[in-house]
């Protein structure tokens, strides 16, 4: 036991001595959650538009006013003729052009029918559809306000209720995702690199020559990172709670327990990587390209899994973070208990056993 303690102390010294890495390890989660919470949003805000108003009457003016005062759009410029449209798009300045037909207002008054044309820069298809949606809603609103005077026989009211996240904050999606990314980064990446570093520098031989069992060496190596990862996860939870108001609706001990399970899973993954390779650079590349990007992109954190083609949906099942994110969302945001997540927990546990058994098989306490 005291051997293990001594070894853990050595490892902690290593971590504390390298203050640059430590600052990044602690600082990165903080900056990431602030950036995600404040800056990353897929809502439309201030989308720049251009307007070609061929009518110039009070209906077109009122509608333009309604569009611009909605807060979603910002007027970049008025156009004078249709030939200018392509130019403003090509400069990349404008996302949408609204074109009013000749006699727009007169047609509404006389024929009860007039047309608006919306031209979208669909180079970014997602923004384009969102912008189209918002504009259509505003125009429909204007149409409805015109019809109020008509006094229709039936009115159907719509009330909507948003469960779990009434203000529709994007940060609710990001906190669970960020926790898993950070746990992944600190544990899998750091352990795999710190073990391969010992190999690369030749100090692994010295460690193996000591009377310590290989198992103890590995436990001693990963224990400090486990603590570090846990600290990080708690920082993110606290920031999420105090800065962005992301609640922990469910049981806190259960949440921490599940975090521990995930940390152990990715730790075993890190150990597995370090048994496969001998160089830090390769370990880094595998962790980074093979773990980080898939975790970010295939775990349902940024992009909905149900949109992916079937083969990728199947692949997403072997990304441990996917299951972990489901678990945290269920506990934190829905406030439900273990009965709802035992399946996901079991899957994580299975992953852990798998990674560990491969590591044990591959681990050679000898140096060639």
């Amino acid at each position: 036991m005291h051997r293990l303690i001594a070894f853990v102390r050595k490892e902690i010294f290593h971590i504390l001595r390298d203050w640059r890495t430590l600052i990044i390890l602690i600082g990165m989660p903080i900056i990431q959650i602030l950036v995600f919470g404040f800056a990353i949003t897929n809502e439309i805000k201030n989308a720049s538009i251009a307007i070609l108003d061929n009518a110039q009457d009070h209906h077109s003016a009122a509608l333009i006013n309604k569009v611009l005062s909605s807060g979603y759009f910002r007027l970049e410029t008025y156009l004078d003729s249709p030939v200018e449209i392509e130019g403003v798009f090509r400069k990349g300045k404008v996302k949408e052009v609204i074109v009013f037909e000749n006699n727009f207002g007169a047609k509404i008054e006389k024929e009860n029918k007039a047309a608006v044309q919306l031209i979208l820069d669909a180079a970014d298809p997602n923004s384009a559809t969102m912008i189209l949606n918002y504009t259509q809603a505003i125009i429909a609103d204007y149409q409805a306000s015109q019809n109020k005077l008509a006094n229709l026989p039936f009115t159907i009211g719509v009330t909507s209720q948003m469960f779990y996240n009434q203000e529709l904050k994007g940060v609710y999606m990001f906190v669970p995702g960020l926790i898993s990314i950070i746990l992944m980064l600190v544990t899998a990446m750091m352990t795999s690199i710190s073990i391969t570093k010992e190999k690369e520098l030749g100090t692994m031989e010295i460690l193996l020559a000591t009377p310590m069992k290989p198992g103890i060496i590995i436990i001693g190596k990963v224990l400090p990172y486990l603590l570090l990862a846990f600290t990080n996860a708690i920082i993110v939870l606290l920031l999420g709670y105090f800065v962005f108001g992301v609640p922990v609706n469910g049981s806190l001990p259960l949440l921490l327990g599940e975090m521990l399970l995930f940390i152990l899973t990715v730790l075993s993954l890190g150990i597995m990587i370090s048994t496969i390779t001998n160089s830090q650079q390769v370990a880094l590349m595998i962790s980074l390209m093979g773990l980080m990007l898939p975790t970010m992109l295939l775990s349902g954190f940024l992009f909905p899994i149900e949109n992916m083609p079937l083969p990728l949906q199947i692949v997403s099942n072997i990304v441990p973070a996917k299951w972990f994110i489901i678990i945290i969302k269920t506990i934190m945001l829905k406030g439900l208990g273990f009965g709802f997540i035992w399946k996901e927990s079991l899957i994580l546990f299975g992953f852990m056993l798998f990674f560990l058994s491969i590591s044990i098989k591959k681990f050679t306490p000898r140096i060639e």
Partner: protein, 375 residues
């Protein structure tokens, strides 16, 4: 010049000797491009809808068929009890529930007013708001339809004055809304950047860590020889990577390439000098590969998140938009998309080129200033 040749020879030998790294360097990004481009579709479709009908009337049936006809929703379940909707949302069996209150039809005839309720699982805020917007507009159309078909009996003269604004729309540059055409150029930038910064920063730091940098320091090699010798191989690899990526994008995803490719490569070359300079700068600030990697990772995550790849820059708050002005990744993503998708020309991009040269001068200047031949 001779010195430079020898350094380059050494660097290339080292790169080609490490087969594992070489494979990772070349194939991993291309594989990522292939796989990830399929993954990054965040368009919201197939919203799972549950219909709760507590009225069971002719009118509520009409609403159901309207919802059924909508391309946005997949109907997962129907029920007559409110509690079923709550259960379904808890178990994540549906994203949104549309609830018709009891006596919906009766109330409409009697008082002229009735209510439809929408319940959404809003953990994914975007999906919830889009889903409830779609549902609201369907209810709105449905109400117009009811008025037209059944309102005449109640109030015959109201109908003649319904005003309608017709909305025609067209999508330019990408009429099929092929999101891959938008994402592939962005992901390509991301991969080229990752490779460039990591390799450049780790390479020099490895020499430091292994102690071989001292051997180089005692030779008559000049600072700029050393830096060019360290940069040029990765510059070539980066450009090749970019070329392969474009080819792959063309062959597999059929992304449009409207603009001038030569100009695009010129920009890529300029960009790579800036980004490799960043790698150099990081390597002068760190002593171990681990540190280099973490600092690179730190900057890259920020650059990528604030680069407009995943979420449009104009949606960000103003302070964040200001930060993105100092982000080289942002400019390359913009240029790549503008040239490939819209065919923007040199006159549209002059500002981007000028900025990139500024980046090169500042970043590389700092790196050369920081690099010391003594320890």
């Amino acid at each position: 010049m001779r010195t430079l040749r020898f350094i380059l020879e050494k660097e290339f030998t080292q790169i080609f000797r490490n087969k594992a790294l070489l494979r990772i360097m070349i194939f991993m990004p291309l594989l990522q491009l292939l796989v990830l481009s399929y993954a990054v579709d965040y368009e919201i479709k197939n919203i799972r809808l549950m219909f709760v009908d507590m009225d069971r009337s002719h009118f509520s049936g009409l609403l159901f068929s309207q919802l059924q006809g909508s391309p946005y929703f997949t109907i997962t379940d129907q029920s007559e009890k409110m509690s079923d909707a709550h259960d379904a949302i808890e178990h994540d069996a549906c994203d949104i529930a549309v609830v018709v209150e009891p006596d919906f039809e009766k109330k409409l005839y009697r008082t002229g007013e009735s209510n439809v309720q929408i319940i959404a699982n809003a953990i994914d805020g975007t999906k919830a708001s889009l889903g409830s917007n779609y549902a609201t507009s369907i209810v709105r159309n449905y109400s117009l339809m009811l008025n037209k078909q059944y309102g005449l009996d109640v109030q015959p003269n109201a109908m003649s004055s319904i005003r309608q604004i017709e909305i025609n729309y067209s999508y330019w540059f990408n009429p099929d809304l092929n999101y891959k055409a938008f994402m592939v150029p962005g992901i390509l930038v991301l991969l080229v950047t990752l490779i460039g910064v990591f390799l450049a920063s780790m390479n020099i730091v490895m020499e430091k860590e292994l102690g071989t940098i001292e051997q180089i320091n005692v030779t008559p090699i000049k600072k700029h020889h050393f830096i060019i010798g360290k940069t040029l191989p990765f510059w070539i690899i980066g450009l090749m990577e970019f070329g392969f990526g474009l080819l792959l994008g063309k062959l597999v995803f059929d992304i449009p390439m409207i603009g001038n490719l030569f100009m695009l490569f010129c920009f890529a070359g300029t960009y790579l000098f800036a980004i490799l300079g960043l790698g150099l700068l990081i390597s002068t600030l760190t002593n171990t590969q681990q540190q280099a990697m973490f600092i690179s990772w730190f900057f890259l995550v920020l650059f990528i998140l604030l680069g407009g790849l995943f979420s449009a820059i104009e949606n960000m708050p103003l302070w964040a938009q200001t930060i993105t002005r100092f982000n080289p990744v942002r400019y390359f993503i913009e240029v790549n998309r503008m040239v490939l998708l819209k065919g923007s020309g040199l006159s549209d991009l002059a500002g981007h080129f000028a900025l990139m040269f500024l980046f090169i001068i500042v970043i590389n200047g700092l790196a050369i200033f920081r690099y010391r031949k003594t320890t």
